[in-house]
């Protein structure tokens, strides 16, 4: 069995183990399985040759032959630098989230089973190279997420769960429409094969793209873009996110922000952009505008929030705007920056949600206005909170800074410079709301209620174990970004950039 199959289905096996094992062992199984996945991911990192842009660890098996084409639907997995970077992120965030789940008490067995199923879905999306397989993993992920929010969530969990589900399914069916069109016209389910066809189509200089008609390509691209944009979430498809985040339990929020949002960006990079480079370039302006709106508007809305967790959720909308901004710019630096933003945001937002979770567990509310001076009561907690805040607002030394600066530099070179400049405004507002929140929650005077050290103990061991690695990785990615960027750089350079620049150059842009 190949490494990839092992890493994807190991959580599924652990889930079945959870089912038969006594309920009190469920959390142990979960953490062990996540650790194993982490170890495997690191092994993949060591073994993957970053100089090669093609897929490695490829495994294929016949699955549903004869559906559409002779070869039909295959079990087809493989990994390149982009996939690896996100597999590493998934493994890392899931491990911390699994540890953060240690104190879940409601229906423990079911919770950890759903968690592991979710992990299989996420990893599967990042390694699947067959469109059908990709779509199945993409959707399978929804089911556990729906239950995790709906059963273990906050007071409005039922509303949030169904809203999340409906929004994502809306995106998914548009994605499915795009997939069906692609498969229909190309006769192939294989992502690499279709990418090659797209390359050939661009190289031939024809108008039609892989669907044989420019307008059809545009329609399919828009469908797929909306499908992925819901997940990112891009403005104006972001409204499910705050509700889902606020109601989801802390570890699930960590995964939601840390990994699930990245699937949208990954889908764009892996499927939508390579399949329809021409349409992507044509839509560049619109996507840039939407990204700028997401960045600035998201930041403003975050500033207006009174709920700590909601604020973090909107900051995600704002930050994920950089991903689409970088992609729309289409330059190599910008795409590298967009990728880096996904990784940086993955770790930082996971950390931020943990930080909200820590205080919510103690105070049982999240009203920013009711906090104050927590730094004096919980100094260690304050240290982690400041690391996360400063990294998120883009202070040099944190991973967020590298991501933002790379994206901006790249986007200035691109065709939509104006919107990159507008987006800069978002950075200022982000700094404003983070600093304001930092002041209001952690500094100033401590209200009487929070002075009770027995009710407000500093970080527990569990919280340490979750926060410390996240903080370390955040700082590491801020100081030595090259080591991380090396993982996926060559893939961007050799696959995506040539396609987009070939498509872009046709109009002299």
């Amino acid at each position: 069995m190949s490494m990839l199959t092992t890493i994807v289905f190991l959580p599924l096996a652990a889930m079945l183990l959870c089912w038969v094992a006594p309920a009190r062992l469920a959390r142990v199984i979960n953490v062990v399985a996540c650790s194993a996945v982490m170890v495997l991911a690191v092994v993949l990192w060591i073994q993957l040759d970053p100089a090669l842009s093609g897929y490695q660890f490829v495994q294929t098996a016949s699955w549903l032959p004869g559906v559409v084409s002779e070869q039909g639907i295959q079990y087809y997995v493989g990994l390149d630098g982009i996939g690896l970077a996100l597999v590493l992120l998934t493994a890392f965030v899931s491990l911390t989230a699994a540890i953060a789940s240690w104190n879940v008490e409601k229906q423990v067995r079911g919770y950890h089973m759903m968690f592991l199923l979710l992990l299989t879905g996420m990893l599967g999306v990042f390694v699947a190279l067959d469109l059908f397989l990709f779509y199945v993993f993409w959707e399978v992920m929804l089911l556990p997420m729906y239950f995790l929010i709906g059963i273990w969530g906050g007071p409005r969990r039922q509303y949030a769960a169904i809203k999340f589900f409906l929004y994502t399914l809306f995106g998914s069916v548009l994605l499915l429409a795009g997939v069906i069109l692609v498969v229909l016209k190309t006769g192939s389910w294989s992502i690499p094969e279709i990418t090659e066809l797209a390359k050939a189509a661009v190289a031939s200089g024809g108008d039609g793209g892989i669907l044989g008609s420019a307008s059809l390509c545009l329609a399919a691209f828009i469908g797929m873009f909306i499908g992925f944009a819901v997940k990112i979430p891009s403005f104006p498809f972001h409204t499910w996110l705050p509700d889902a985040h606020v109601e989801a339990p802390t570890p699930i929020s960590m995964i939601l922000a840390g990994v699930l949002l990245k699937m949208g960006g990954y889908g764009l990079i892996r499927v939508a952009y390579p399949f329809f480079p021409q349409a992507a370039v044509d839509c560049g302006a619109v996507i840039s505008v939407l990204s700028a709106i997401a960045i600035v508007y998201g930041a403003f809305v975050a500033m207006a929030q009174t709920d700590f967790k909601r604020m973090i959720a909107y900051s995600s909308v704002s930050h994920m705007g950089f991903v689409t901004l970088g992609l729309a710019a289409g330059t190599e630096t910008a795409i590298n920056g967009a990728m880096y933003m996904m990784l940086a945001h993955g770790t930082i937002s996971a950390m931020l949600f943990m930080i909200v979770g820590v205080i919510y567990e103690r105070a049982h509310h999240r009203e920013i206005a009711r906090f104050g001076g927590l730094a004096w009561v919980m100094p260690k907690y304050f240290v982690f909170a400041s690391i996360a805040f400063f990294a998120s607002l883009g202070l040099p030394g944190g991973s967020g800074f590298v991501a933002e600066i790379t994206t901006f530099v790249g986007a200035f070179d691109g065709p939509h410079r104006l919107w990159a400049i507008v987006s800069l405004l978002g950075v200022v507002i982000t700094a404003a709301y983070y600093l304001r929140t930092l002041q209001r929650v952690y500094l100033l005077e401590t209200p009487e209620v929070y002075k009770d050290t027995s009710a407000y103990p500093d970080l527990s061991v569990r919280e340490w174990v979750v926060l410390a690695p996240l903080a370390l990785v955040t700082i590491y990615m801020g100081i030595l970004p090259a080591t991380v960027m090396d993982i996926y750089k060559s893939v961007v350079h050799e696959t995506l950039v040539p396609l987009l620049s070939a498509a872009g150059s046709r109009f002299g842009g």
């Binding site: 699955w63 549903l64 559906v67 199945v136 769960a161 399914l169 069916v173 499915l176």
Partner: protein, 498 residues
């Protein structure tokens, strides 16, 4: 003359007579005896339908007296109905409170299946109509079987009134069609159309509308769907499942035959997928396409507001009829294969869903969705089964419903009707809301005093038998799809051409 196509029908008839006689002799004292005879008759009919056909297949369509035609399509459908009848009987014996599930119930189910068997083979309008009525009349009585139940009686009366009127309309339409065709056989009809006897005739449009109205009633397509929620809610859950699955499939089978015969069925492929909205294939096809869109949309929107499980499933089955109609509208070999494939998925999902609805009603005494509150913790197996079914009905992977929908929309896109496909796909999103609402009650809401819902072994087994394929075929549907394609290939797209 080869009478062998009639073997399943004869077996069913013997079964009917045997049940009547045994019921009289035993005076309802040994219900298991009559039940097993009925089950045996159904199984026998299914088996002999499977075994017999090789003769009539290769050498083209062989007809019996020019009225009945045995082909793989009719065989498949006969088996389909036998299975549905089988499950219905089992579910009723064990299911909802049924004062006298005795002989007459079994006789009615067997008669309905007999009608469907004949219907599947009919290539003659008179035979088709007679078979259709056999199915309908058995259905009317089945719905009103629980004499003491006023809702059941109301449902029966509604069904009979709606059904009677739509049959009359259809019969009148058929009389016009026969006038055009100069004969009652479908072959005569297709010849007449080929000769151009109907082109530009306003009366032909009238005939098409009237005939389609009759079919639309049977498959509960909008705007002839009003009876379905009331009837399903008033009937025992198992009977509702029977109507939703077998009776609806019967309507589709007849429609396939007639659409095929009108040859209007050869729909030209959409030239520009982004500007073509409706298939251009004559009156009947346009009617079907519009009805498809209306049916799925109205069905899904109305289902959003339902509070009762059976009504919800009724509206959901209306919506599914819309998806199936879409396939008739685009009309290609791939579409027919997808239709068969979808019907199989539909059979498992709906029979199981109605079975579970019946169990819940029996245990809780009410069919309200609220009765499911907290069941996620009280009976995990049943709740998981229901979750699988509802996700599958929504069309989510990795369940059978998704595979069926994928093939369905693939067939629609393949013919270039992108907009029809997208409307259908978006309808799936709407449907998620009401299916997930049931799951929300089931899993997310806590119940204070809900008793444990016990499942007898037989019920559990029946559930498992129906749910496991929904899971298994969702990931490995290659064999089933291949089979559906084979069957569709045997069915001439245009009747009378071979």
């Amino acid at each position: 003359m080869d009478w062998s196509p009639l073997i399943p029908a004869v077996e069913l008839t013997i079964g009917i007579l045997a049940v009547i006689v045994l019921d009289l002799l035993a005076r309802g004292r040994h219900p298991w005896l009559t039940t097993s005879v009925a089950l045996l008759a159904l199984a026998g009919a299914a088996v002999s339908a499977c075994v017999q056909p090789t003769s009539g297949l290769d050498g083209g369509a062989e007809t019996l007296l020019g009225v009945l035609q045995l082909d793989r399509f009719s065989v498949v459908f006969t088996v389909f109905c036998c299975v549905t009848g089988f499950v219905t009987i089992l579910a009723t014996v064990r299911g909802e409170a049924f004062p006298t599930p005795g002989g007459e119930f079994l006789v009615l189910v067997l008669s309905a299946v007999l009608g469907m068997n004949v219907l599947a083979m009919s290539v003659d309008l008179v035979a088709l109509y007679l078979a259709f009525e056999t199915v309908s009349i058995a259905g009317y009585v089945l719905v009103a079987m629980r004499r003491a139940d006023p809702r059941g009686n109301e449902a029966g009366v509604k069904y009979v009134l709606f059904g009677g009127v739509s049959s009359a309309v259809m019969l009148y339409g058929l009389s016009l069609v026969v006038g055009f065709a100069g004969g009652t056989s479908l072959e005569a009809l297709s010849r007449a159309i080929e000769a151009g006897h109907v082109t530009g005739q306003p009366l032909w449009t009238v005939a098409c509308v009237m005939v389609f109205a009759g079919f639309a009633f049977k498959i509960s397509a909008v705007p002839f769907h009003f009876w379905a929620p009331d009837v399903y809610a008033g009937a025992p859950a198992s009977v509702a499942g029977f109507l939703a699955v077998a009776s609806k499939a019967a309507g589709f089978v007849a429609l396939i035959r007639v659409v095929g015969a009108t040859r209007m069925g050869v729909v030209p492929e959409a030239s520009d997928p982004l500007t073509t909205f409706l298939p251009d294939g004559g009156v009947l096809i346009s009617l079907i396409a519009v009805a498809a869109i209306l049916t799925m949309t109205v069905g899904n929107l109305a289902a959003l507001r339902q509070r009762e499980l059976k009504r919800l499933l009724a509206w959901s089955s209306i919506a599914h009829a819309g998806y199936l109609l879409l396939l008739l509208a685009v009309w290609s070999e791939g579409a027919l294969a997808a239709l068969l494939f979808y019907l199989v998925a539909y059979l498992f999902m709906n029979l199981a869903a109605f079975l579970i609805a019946g169990i819940v009603i029996r245990e809780r005494g009410t069919g309200d969705i609220e009765a499911l509150r907290g069941m996620g913790r009280r009976n995990v197996g049943l709740s998981l089964a229901l979750a699988v079914l509802l996700f599958s009905l929504t069309g989510l992977p990795p369940f059978f419903g998704f595979a069926a929908k994928l093939q369905l929309f693939y067939a629609v896109f393949e013919r270039g009707f992108v907009w029809l496909g997208v409307i259908g796909l978006l309808n799936g999103v709407v449907s998620l809301y009401y299916y997930a609402r049931v799951l929300g009650v089931l899993w997310f809401q806590e119940a204070e005093d809900a008793p444990v819902l016990r499942l007898s072994r037989a019920d559990a087994l029946l559930c498992a038998v129906l749910v496991v394929p929904v899971l298994g075929l969702g990931l490995f549907w290659w064999g089933a799809w291949d089979w559906a394609r084979d069957v569709a290939r045997d069915l001439p797209l245009v009747m009378g051409v071979r």
